[in-house]
C-alpha cells in the first residue's frame, strides 16, 4: 500500500470512528474498563446521605467526629491490543476481516485516548511482527492506527499463543487486553489461561459468513490464504455443505469452550455486522452484569 492510500484510509477510519467513540464513551467504555481497582483517596467528615458502610471508624474515634472514606478509581489503566496479521484475515465475503479489524483497532485506540488511557499493541503472525508499547497521547494513538493499516507482515500463520505469552510477560500491571483475531489457530489455550489470570481479556472473534456456511453454487476451487493449500468445494452438494458446516462449527465450539473456561469475554463480529454497533451492544451488556 502506498503512503497516500494509507493516509486516506487512516483518515477514513478516524472519521468513522470519532463519532462512534463518542457513542462508545457515553458511559459504556468507562464502566467496562474499570481499571485494576479503587484506591483510597482521603477521609472527610461524614455528610448525611453518605454510605454508612464507608465510615472510617479509626479516624472517627481519633477525631471524635464521624469521618468517611472516599475512594477514587485507579487511573492508571492500560488497554492492550493483540492483533492477528495472518493471511486468513485478508479474506472475507462482505468486506475483508482486515477492514473490520482496522476499524476495531481505531475504535479501541481512540476511545482509550479520549479517556486518557494508555494504549499499546502487539502485531503477530507466526512471530511477533511489531510491538507498540502502551503510552498515552493522541499522537501515539494515531501512530498505532497507522501502523495497523500499513503494516506488511513478513511471516505467515498466526501463533496466537506466542503473542499472548509475550503480552502476558510484558504487561506488568493489570489492564485490559483485547485480542483481535479470527482464532483460526491452535495451541493457545494455555497462554490464554495464563494471561486471563492477570489481565482482563476480551476475545474478539472476527468472523465471516463463510466461516459457517458454504454458499450454494457449483464447484469451485478454494485456496487457503496462509498455506496455499487448495481443495475442491462443491456448493451444490448438500453433503459437502454439511461437512463444511460441521468443521467450522466444531472450531467455533472449541473457541467458546476455551473462552468460557478461562472466563474470557467473548465477542464475535462478522464482516456483515456493523462493528461499532456490536461493540456498543457488547459493552452495554457487560455493564449490566
Amino acid at each position: 500500500m502506498d503512503r497516500s492510500r494509507i493516509l486516506a484510509s487512516v483518515k477514513r477510519i478516524r472519521l468513522i470512528s470519532t463519532e462512534l467513540v463518542e457513542n462508545l464513551l457515553a458511559g459504556n467504555y468507562r464502566s467496562v474498563f474499570k481499571g485494576p481497582g479503587i484506591e483510597f483517596d482521603e477521609a472527610r467528615e461524614y455528610v448525611e446521605g453518605d454510605d454508612v458502610r464507608l465510615i472510617d471508624w479509626n479516624v472517627s474515634s481519633r477525631m471524635n467526629e464521624v469521618y468517611t472514606k472516599t475512594f477514587r478509581e485507579e487511573r492508571e489503566l492500560s488497554l492492550f491490543l493483540v492483533v492477528d496479521l495472518s493471511g486468513s484475515l485478508d479474506a472475507g465475503t462482505v468486506r475483508s476481516r482486515r477492514d473490520v479489524q482496522n476499524l476495531l483497532i481505531a475504535l479501541f485506540t481512540l476511545a482509550a485516548v479520549q479517556n486518557n488511557d494508555r494504549v499499546g499493541a502487539v502485531f503477530f503472525t507466526d512471530r511477533i511482527e511489531h510491538w507498540v508499547p502502551p503510552l498515552k497521547g493522541k499522537k501515539h494513538a494515531l501512530r498505532l492506527i497507522q501502523d495497523a493499516v500499513s503494516f506488511t507482515p513478513r511471516g505467515v500463520g498466526s501463533d496466537l499463543g506466542l503473542a499472548l505469552r509475550t503480552a502476558g510477560e510484558a504487561l506488568k500491571r493489570r489492564g485490559m487486553v483485547v485480542v483481535l483475531s479470527d482464532f483460526k489457530t491452535s495451541n493457545y489455550s494455555r497462554d490464554l489461561s495464563f494471561l486471563a489470570h492477570r489481565q482482563d481479556v476480551i476475545a474478539v472473534r472476527i468472523s465471516d459468513p463463510l466461516d459457517r456456511d458454504f454458499p450454494v453454487g457449483g464447484m469451485v476451487r478454494v485456496r487457503d490464504p496462509e498455506t496455499g493449500r487448495r481443495v475442491l468445494a462443491k456448493g451444490n452438494s448438500p453433503a459437502f455443505r454439511r461437512q463444511y458446516r460441521e468443521f467450522w462449527e466444531a472450531q467455533w465450539r472449541q473457541w467458546r469452550r476455551e473462552c468460557l473456561r478461562r472466563k474470557v469475554g467473548m465477542l464475535e463480529i462478522s464482516t456483515d455486522d456493523d462493528p461499532a454497533a456490536r461493540l456498543i451492544q457488547y459493552f452495554r451488556r457487560r455493564r449490566k452484569r
Partner: protein, 333 residues
C-alpha cells in the same frame, strides 16, 4: 511408419511445464476463491468429495491430452506407407502334398513327416512374395485346396487346416498331378511349376502319374518331386478325422524313387530325396533356387496425413473437459 512433417512444432511441448505451472500451481491463478480452510498448525478441512475429485482429475488429464493432440497436429503427423511393387510377373506354383496316413510316420523327429512338410512349405511360401501359390492335397482322392493366388494368408490358412486321411487311405499321385496341372494350365504366368511331396507308391486313382507328367510337360509345367521318408520300419500314429479314433502301429514301406524320378525327368523338373527334416528343407530350398527369376521391384511411398484426426481428437478432449466441468461438476468461476 510415422513421421512428422514439421517436427519443429513439437517444441511447444517444452512450454508445457510453464503452462502447467501457470494453470495449476501459480498462487495467483484465476478461478479460485481465497478462504481459510484450516487452522494454523491445527485441524484442516478435508472434504470427502471423491467423485468430484476423480472427475476433476480426469478433466485435467483430458485438457492436457487435448492440448498435446493439437500440438501433435501442428507437427503434421503423416503415416508413410512403403510398398514394394513387383514389376516383373511372378511364377505360378502348386504344392501337391500327400496326406495319406503314412505321412504320420514319426521318422522326422520331433515332428512327423506331415508336420515337417507343412513347416517347410510355410517357409517356402513366405519367401515367394510375388508368386501365386496354390495347394492340392491327396490320398485316395485328390482335391484342390487353394487355386494359385498371391494372397498367401489364404494359402497358409488352408495349409494349416489340412488333416491326415481326410481324403481317404491311399496315394493317388497321378490324380493329384492332374488336378494341379489342370489348374496351372490356363495360367498366363511365364513360369509354372508343381512341387510334389509324397511318401507312398501310386496305388489309387484313374490317371497314371507318367501320363499326368506328360500333360504337364506339354503345357510347359515342370514338376519337382520330393520323396519323403526313410527306409525300414517306422512308428506311426494319427487320428482318423472321420471316427476320431487314434491309430498306432508300425509301418514299413516307402516311396517309389524310380517313379518320382521319371515324373521329374518327363516334365523337366528335379527329383529330391528327403530322409530328414534338414534334407526336406534343403530340397525345397533347391526348388526355390532353381525357380528363382529376376525380380524388378519398385518401392512406392504413400503418405497419409493424420493432422485432421489429431485435431479432431484434441478438440473432442477439450470439449469433454469443458462439458464435464460445466454440466457435470457445475464449475463456477
Amino acid at each position: 511408419m510415422w513421421v512428422f512433417e514439421s517436427p519443429g512444432s513439437l517444441g511447444w511441448f517444452l512450454l508445457f511445464p510453464v503452462l502447467i505451472y501457470l494453470r495449476h500451481i501459480r498462487a495467483g491463478r484465476g478461478g479460485q476463491v481465497t478462504a481459510p480452510i484450516q487452522l494454523w498448525r491445527g485441524a484442516s478441512f478435508r472434504p470427502r468429495l471423491w467423485g468430484t475429485r476423480t472427475w476433476y482429475a480426469v478433466c485435467v488429464v483430458a485438457f492436457w491430452l487435448g492440448i498435446a493432440a493439437l500440438v501433435v497436429a501442428a507437427a503434421a503427423p503423416t503415416l508413410v506407407h512403403r510398398e514394394r511393387v513387383f514389376l516383373s510377373p511372378g511364377s505360378d506354383i502348386i504344392f501337391v502334398l500327400d496326406e495319406s496316413p503314412t505321412m504320420a510316420a514319426q521318422d522326422f523327429a520331433p515332428l512327423n513327416r506331415f508336420e515337417t512338410a507343412r513347416e517347410v512349405i510355410r517357409t517356402f511360401v513366405r519367401g515367394r512374395e510375388n508368386d501365386a501359390i496354390g495347394l492340392v492335397t491327396f490320398a485316395r482322392e485328390a482335391a484342390l485346396r487353394v487355386p494359385p493366388t498371391v494372397d498367401h494368408t489364404t494359402v497358409l490358412d488352408a495349409l494349416e487346416s489340412v488333416r491326415i486321411m481326410e481324403l481317404g487311405d491311399g496315394t493317388a499321385i497321378g490324380n493329384a498331378l492332374a488336378v494341379a496341372v489342370l489348374h496351372l494350365e490356363s495360367s498366363p504366368a511365364p513360369n509354372r511349376f508343381i512341387v510334389l511331396l509324397t511318401d507312398g507308391i501310386n496305388n489309387a486313382g484313374e490317371i497314371l502319374p507318367q501320363t499326368a507328367a506328360r500333360v504337364a510337360a506339354q503345357v510347359g509345367i515342370r514338376v519337382y518331386t520330393v520323396g519323403v521318408g526313410t527306409d525300414g520300419e517306422v512308428p506311426i500314429e494319427f487320428e482318423d478325422p472321420a471316427t476320431g479314433r487314434m491309430f498306432r502301429g508300425v509301418f514299413d514301406g516307402g516311396y517309389d524313387p524310380d517313379l518320382l524320378r521319371e515324373i521329374a525327368d518327363i516334365s523337366g523338373g528335379t527329383f529330391f530325396q528327403a530322409a530328414t527334416a534338414g534334407t526336406l528343407a534343403a530340397a525345397l530350398q533347391s526348388v526355390d533356387t532353381l525357380e528363382s527369376v529376376e525380380r524388378r521391384v519398385r518401392i512406392e511411398v504413400r503418405r497419409r496425413p493424420l493432422h485432421r484426426e489429431a485435431i479432431l481428437v484434441g478438440l473432442s478432449l477439450l470439449l469433454f473437459d469443458f462439458l464435464v466441468r460445466k454440466w457435470l461438476l457445475k464449475e463456477v468461476l
